[in-house]
């Protein structure tokens, strides 16, 4: 049977974000997948270079609507390390609470989307209903459901009142009960087992070779979590475990995510119950000294890295954002080989892609109008030929 090319996107009713898939199929089986990204480049990195440290944090939050706190925390802790200031314990705990609430709402949202993609809309409605409790908690604490804007260089913007802490603690038992139910459901519900098990399998070796991060890597048995391996905020204090699974398929990734919600609940409960007293911020200098830093953060989708270079002024010289989706994308093409056409949506969704965060520029040759991928060494060579003084 001849191979058929099915092209979907970049603009298609079934897609939530712009991406172009070229699926080369042999009957019902996928032979190969070609991905074309970066239809929504927004120039956030360049815009960040033009704003001072106070005004850059709300901008970086808007890199992603789901992991907004991740981006601003990764940036803030990088700048704080360059400035060599240590934030107060209370600020660390508040940042941790918001970060884990964000992880919970991200994973609950993902579980709903995954259920929706396999046609299990009942679960979609339930998870999104329970996600509201998390969203309400964050809204009460920070004043917004999506862009919390809790961070500032040197601490957090606003304090948590005892009433807010008690309201959050009062919501936890119900959430814990619901999440335990989802764990049961993911493990025993026939609808999910049939559609998730054995679909989009990625072995441990492949996951390592393709450099996957986050729940995608942990589902393949890689015991790697930035929160444990390079502890920041209050993760070294709180009792929790890194969740791994050996299945490596969509089923494994679902299990890792629901278990992670349970772990997040434990961290949130610990931080709320042991919230230290004291100041919520320390005064930060206006300018940062000259320096470079790679700030790592475990976002809900995986390890997020902000490379920051400062030059002694009140703004960054360069900020390079490596989102977890960028690290996980290449593994999707691998997962899809030899799978059924009908499983494409759920396999792509299994890495929890966030495409607009991932969009980067493409170099286009001026004369030939040719665009393509260039190697890292070639990129360095071109950069140096343009800026010979910075070798």
């Amino acid at each position: 049977m001849p191979e058929v090319v099915v092209s979907i996107g970049p603009h298609h009713p079934a897609l939530k974000e712009p991406v172009n898939f070229k699926i080369i199929a042999d009957g019902e089986k996928i032979v190969r997948l070609e991905l074309d990204l970066s239809y929504n480049h927004r120039g956030v990195e360049k815009a960040a270079e033009q704003r001072d440290f106070i005004r850059v944090l709300p901008l970086l939050e808007r890199v992603c609507g789901i992991c907004s706190h991740s981006h601003s925390t990764a940036f803030a802790q990088g700048i704080e390390e360059i400035m060599q200031i240590e934030i107060p314990p209370r600020a660390r705990y508040i940042r941790t609470i918001i970060a884990e609430l964000e992880r919970m709402h991200s994973h609950l949202l993902w579980l709903g989307v995954a259920a929706h993609l396999i046609g299990f809309n009942t679960l979609f409605m339930w998870t999104w209903r329970d996600r509201e409790a998390v969203q309400d908690t964050v809204e009460e604490m920070s004043g917004n459901r999506v862009h919390y804007n809790m961070n500032e260089i040197g601490g957090v913007r606003c304090d948590l009142t005892p009433a807010q802490v008690n309201a959050a603690l009062a919501r936890l038992p119900n959430l814990e009960e619901r999440v335990n139910k989802y764990v049961d459901m993911v493990n025993y519900e026939e609808t999910m087992l049939l559609r998730f098990r054995g679909v989009g399998r990625l072995s441990k070796e492949e996951a390592l070779r393709y450099g996957t991060v986050g729940p995608t890597a942990r589902a393949s048995g890689i015991d790697y979590d930035t929160r444990k391996d390079d502890p920041y905020l209050a993760y070294a204090d709180a009792p929790w475990n890194v969740v791994t699974d050996t299945n490596g398929d969509v089923y494994g990734r679902t299990r890792v995510r629901v278990w992670e919600i349970q772990e997040s609940l434990r961290i949130v409960r610990y931080c709320l119950e042991n919230l230290p007293e004291g100041a919520i911020r320390v005064p930060a200098p206006k300018n940062a000294p000259k320096g470079e830093i790679l700030s790592r953060y475990e976002a809900p989708r995986g390890e997020l890295a902000h490379f920051i270079r400062t030059n002694g002024t009140d703004r960054v010289e360069r900020v390079d954002i490596r989102t977890p989706t960028l690290a996980n994308w290449t593994s999707v093409a691998m997962c899809l080989v030899n799978q059924n056409l009908a499983d494409i949506p759920v396999i792509v969704a299994a890495i929890d892609p966030c495409l607009s965060c991932t969009s980067r520029i493409t170099l286009v040759e001026n004369q030939t109008k040719k665009a393509g991928v260039i190697s890292f060494d070639e990129l360095i060579r071109r950069y140096r030929s343009r800026n010979p003084e910075e070798v």
Binding site: G143, H147, E152, R157, C158
Partner: protein, 120 residues
Amino acid sequence: MSVLGEMFENFLSRPITILYPKEKVPIPAAFRGRVAIADDKCIGCSKCSLVCPAQVITMIDGPRDVEFKGKNLARKKRPQVKLFKCIRCGLCERHCPTGAIVLKNELSCSGTDGEIVLTE
């Protein structure tokens, strides 16, 4: 079976959806909504317009004598906010030395004029 059990429970319970225009959603006190400026507290220091990430606060003429930390000062300017471009980040409220600019917990700020400004 757990799904079926819960489905039957849900058949007998009330819908969770809030019918918005009839029922009002409770808005938390800390909600960052519409910007409000108390002109009697404003000392015209321009901090809000300097920290605003969306650059929606401009300083316009508003001369008045004000008192700050026991000193009598002559204020020259006062802030003007373009509400439709405001991203409600709360940085102006955080950096205001007198608490003159606050984000109220008002949710609705609808209108058809793209340049609605707030001066008071």
